[in-house]
């Protein structure tokens, strides 16, 4: 049985009943009815709560005339995401900035929360990156269907020239199906490997040797969150109608 973190233990102590009820509504049974909450579920919810609290603290401090430090930090993040969306998707992609930004911030906080001693990254467990990848895949397909209509969207898989359509269509379908797999495995394996490498080196020289690996893990966490959001933007850009056609 997986060791419970203190957050998970709290949830299992007080909310085990509602969790079992919710799972049985969905037709699933937990392996151990005394511990229906998994570590990654508890950590995910904690990450979401932290983000909500952070933005709730930000909102009253926003000001046009005298922006504070908090506002400057978030303006940096927003300008960065806005600039990336403009570069990658173009001005037509601005309505979807909320989705890209949410993915980026959730994955970023999810990656970084593992550095706090008694907490774990939810992105270290397969279901969480898979959930983000599934959301991305469903999102860009829905955007494509909404913007182009379903027949034109399916036709865009055939590529730029009609006499290569027989080749392009299967290739495009397979590469689209490989996208959730690659998004999931990239994020999951990076976080899982980072944690394991830190643990492995902590077994050799306990307090000092993990330090450079934890620094690398911070950098990799930032980078992986950025790459996930960037790839989502690229997929949405592909799904949107291109003016040169």
């Amino acid at each position: 049985m997986e060791h419970d973190l203190w957050v998970t233990a709290l949830l299992n102590r007080f909310l085990a009943g509602p969790a079992n009820a919710a799972l049985s509504v969905a037709g699933m049974r937990p392996e151990d009815p005394a511990h229906p909450w998994a570590n990654y579920v508890a950590m995910e919810i904690l990450v979401a709560l932290i983000i909500v609290v952070l933005f709730a603290l930000l909102r009253p401090r926003l000001s046009m005339d005298r922006p504070g430090k908090f506002q400057h930090i978030f303006e940096l993040v927003y300008n960065f995401l806005h600039g990336q969306t403009d570069d990658v998707v173009g001005p037509a992609g601005q309505p979807y900035l909320a989705f890209f930004g949410t993915l980026f911030i959730f994955i970023l906080f999810g990656n970084l929360i593992g550095l706090i001693p008694t907490l774990e990254s939810p992105t270290m467990f397969v279901p969480v990156p898979f959930g983000c990848a599934l959301a991305t895949i469903v999102f860009y397909n829905l955007v494509g269907i909404q913007q182009q209509g379903i027949w034109k969207y399916i036709l865009h898989f055939t590529g730029p020239v009609w006499w290569l359509a027989w080749l392009m269509f299967p290739i495009e379908i397979i590469s689209n199906l490989a996208r959730p797999l690659s998004l999931t495995v990239r994020l999951y394996a990076n976080m899982f490997a980072g944690e394991n490498v830190t643990m492995a080196f902590a077994g050799i020289v306990p307090l000092l040797l993990p330090i450079p690996f934890m620094a690398l893990h911070i950098f990799v966490g930032l980078l992986q969150a950025y790459i996930f959001a960037l790839l989502t933007m690229i997929y949405v850009a592909e799904a949107l109608p291109h003016p040169e056609h």
Binding site: V138, F139, Y188, A189, N190, L223
Partner: protein, 102 residues
Amino acid sequence: MKTKLFLLLAAALVLASPMFAQGGAAPAADNHHWIWIASGFSMAIASGLCGLAQGKAVAAACDAMGRNPGAAAAIRFALILGLVLIESLALYTFAIIFLKIS
């Protein structure tokens, strides 16, 4: 319009709940010791080849930045993107190893 999009997205995500019912038993064959040797070699080969590829990417990026310092931001972006995609190939091997050594 946006509400409909979000509602469709939420419905599709709820439909994904059977994913949690995954289970998988790795069959323990008689010659399962080969898994240890094979995983060591495969990870080493994957890491070595990805190291070579990333070295080529970094070398090309440094050359280009030296030739055209004004384009450094665009080159750096392409470099980071390329490095991450190559890195993920080595990590697919890592993921398979951890799935098989269960």
